[in-house]
Subunit: 457 residues, 2 copies
């Protein structure tokens, strides 16, 4: 163990391949099903939305998948990202625990999202695609795909959940600054959007609905101006790209001469969590040390802790294939907590599968306790985390306090998935005592779960 | 010359001493004068405001001044900061020039300011000071001193120029998040503030006025709750602390195997510019290669290009000693351009002295052309610069285009002093065509210059 503050890798230590956990799972995850036929979907079903390289990654069981050199070149701008030892936080907590955090806020858009937006844009470009559609909640993903689009000369169209569109004009400014187009969702651009607006003119939108809009535009795009669809989380190929986070972390832990007992990440769709966790979980699956892996979700949108492991649609308009995942039901609309990136009804199928196998634990945290953790982190470590990342910070602090109570030298690692520079309104609201611990409506959840599609397994 | 994207130093390459250009100047800068006696000020005159270590640094002619280890420990969180080769920008400009930028936006508060806030807070802490007052324009400095105060347990009181206080609630949120107190300036807390409000109830404030308020509070503070004053630019000890930027850059240029022909920084008070320039200028003064050093200011506040090299007060209420500098007159109120950090009537005396000696050139840029440069930078390099830093980007792009026109392989280096995450409103205004190229009123400038104090030299 060394006494450094941060652990930096040189560019030559940037991983050359992503890690695919599908190679090491004790049993394969349930197949994705076609909603019409109930049969597993094949590459042809996905071809209207994704380039073949990404479809192949989606179903690959190869352990290592090479990162294309043009993607590595872009990665090198901010990767390998730093691993920090949170010494000042440890001191403030007076804990015997050692706390490490991998900091993904150093990317151009301030989160882990470019780890996948860049390869997605690259594979689409090499497939001759000139236009990409996507959804965004808080705007982290939309700005990251806009960034990647600007680099590779791809037009990007973003459907942004209306509540965020209105509350976060500066994320929108960033997306537009990169040259992309932003529509508030629900919009009048799609059948799904128009239907939602017809039901409710002031519809606040949701991630599931914005996905429906983006998928629809891509699916209906004419051959001569073909658009593909791009998703910022949930899918296997997205989690694959995020594995770079954990692969780097493994090398950095070696530099630090330390070994985490518990690994923590916040979960919305599950990609930043899987990014830091899967490479370490893979070691365990191949016979290595057993560790705790803790997925932290908001109590307002608790797919792992209160949802059902079942087949469901990925979007609200039910345009996507059926995926087996922890879900609150595609009709569930989570309360408007500030952690917009965690307001998704489902959970990545690979993360869900690992929860089902007992490899990953879920825990839910309230909004206010998460902001309290964020402020404590800012005052000690200097960084204001994004509201999403505050969930990981909260859980890490709780683990450190537990270690203190137990007098244990626990080693805690968490992914600080992004900074909160575009979320300072939420910190203002918190400071002004305006934040509430929002609860979902149990009746609404029961109804959404009752509406899950019936699938013969 | 290597083909990397970024040049990173390890923590062990973090400089152990700051560089003091006073050791190498061909003639010493004019002395700072007491406004009452007209005599050079001594340490006792400054003792009510600053700890003795900083006063000694202010007048030192020692070339190297050791960085205290507790300061280096904090620096190590984000330093050495990266030096980037702007390859994608070069390609977009189709220029034979090679463009490098040192990126100071990686600090916790997103600019170069913590390079001096941390040592200032540290020296004050070791002197037993528990309270610091300061001013801030756009908020970069206020948040940086608040950060340093949080680390060392010092109470920080910030007077924030009212126009920024109202326009930039998120910088204020950051300052308060770190635990500091913020007053809109002019405030009712001081004689200087009350006098300004009496003249004009909706006074927009200015950096010079906010300095008056912060100095007054410190100077009048009771012995039992002594407050010191802290300044984020202009003074010699501030420029000294910023030399870490250029010292690191020298090592990184060696890694890159390249040597800049022109070195560029934006100038408000002059500290980020001096930070990157002085270590390179020092080499030249000790017999090394001659380079161009380009200080870029806004046309709205053109102290070098339209001001006078004369003795003047550093603040509006004329509470400070007299310093010889390029100045527009302490009564000059610059138009409200978005680059709030550059809206200062004067210029660091050491930078001014070097301009007077013909070692540094000044150039002024308009607001709109600077934002155009910022957007071009964002679309290629992925980073939205702060409006202040856009002035350096503009000048760097202009130099690269000149190199292209002349068919020359010029090497350009600039300091990207901070990111624009808290300035996205200005990018929105720019995109909406709402920005104007604001000109100062020549009559007002003439009056402000006519009001300069008469000093016998």
């Amino acid at each position: 163990m060394t006494d450094s503050v941060k652990y930096l890798l040189s560019e030559k230590d940037l991983p050359k391949a992503w890690y695919n956990i599908a190679a090491d799972l004790p049993k394969p995850p349930p197949p994705v099903l076609h909603p019409g036929t109930g049969k597993p979907v094949g590459p042809d079903d996905l071809a209207p939305l994704f380039p073949m390289e990404l479809i192949q990654q989606e179903v690959s069981t190869q352990r290592e998948i090479e990162i294309p050199e043009p993607v590595r070149e872009v990665y090198r701008q901010w990767r390998p990202s730093p691993l920090f030892r949170a010494r000042r936080l440890e001191k403030a907590l007076d804990t015997p625990a050692r706390i490490y955090y991998k900091y993904e806020g150093v990317s151009p858009t301030g989160s882990h999202k470019p780890n996948t937006s860049v390869p997605q844009a690259w594979y689409n470009k090499t497939a001759g695609i000139k236009r990409l559609t996507t959804e965004t909640g808080a705007g982290q993903w939309g700005s990251s795909l806009a960034f990647a689009g600007a680099l590779f000369g791809i037009e990007v169209v973003v459907f942004m959940v209306r509540v965020s569109f209105d509350q976060k004009p500066y994320r929108k400014a960033m997306i537009e600054g990169f040259g992309a187009t932003v529509h508030a969702s629900p919009s009048d651009q799609t059948n799904a959007g128009r239907a939602a607006l017809a039901k409710r003119a002031d519809h606040p939108g949701s991630l599931g609905l914005a996905i429906s809009e983006a998928v629809e535009v891509a699916a209906m795009s004419p051959k001569e101006n073909k658009a593909n669809y791009s998703l910022g989380s949930v899918l296997n190929h997205v989690l694959l790209h995020q594995s770079i986070v954990g692969l780097e972390t493994l090398k950095q832990l070696e530099m630090a001469g330390d070994d985490p007992d518990v690994v923590i990440g916040c979960v919305g769709g599950g990609s930043n969590f899987a990014g830091i966790v899967f490479p370490l979980l893979g070691l365990q699956l191949r016979g290595g040390r057993k560790r705790r892996f803790l997925a932290v979700e908001p109590t307002a949108c608790p797919s792992i802790t209160k949802g059902r492991f079942a087949y469901d649609f990925g979007d609200t308009a039910n345009l996507t294939p059926l995926i087996k995942m922890y879900t609150l039901g595609s009709a569930f609309v989570p309360p408007p907590v500030h952690a917009g990136g965690l307001r998704y009804h489902g959970m990545a199928p690979l993360v869900s599968h690992c929860v089902d196998l007992g490899l990953i634990e879920g825990v839910a945290k309230h909004q206010i306790e998460c902001f309290q953790a964020g402020i404590q982190f800012a005052k000690t470590e200097g960084i204001f985390p994004a509201p999403e990342a505050n969930h990981a910070v909260r859980a890490a602090i709780d683990e450190a306090l537990k270690a203190k109570a137990e007098g244990k030298k626990r080693v805690i690692l968490f992914n600080l998935s992004g900074h909160g520079h575009f979320d300072m309104q939420s910190y203002l609201d918190f400071a002004a005592g305006k934040l509430k611990d929002m609860e979902y409506d149990p009746k609404e959840l029961a109804m959404a779960l009752a509406g899950l599609p019936s699938v013969k397994e």
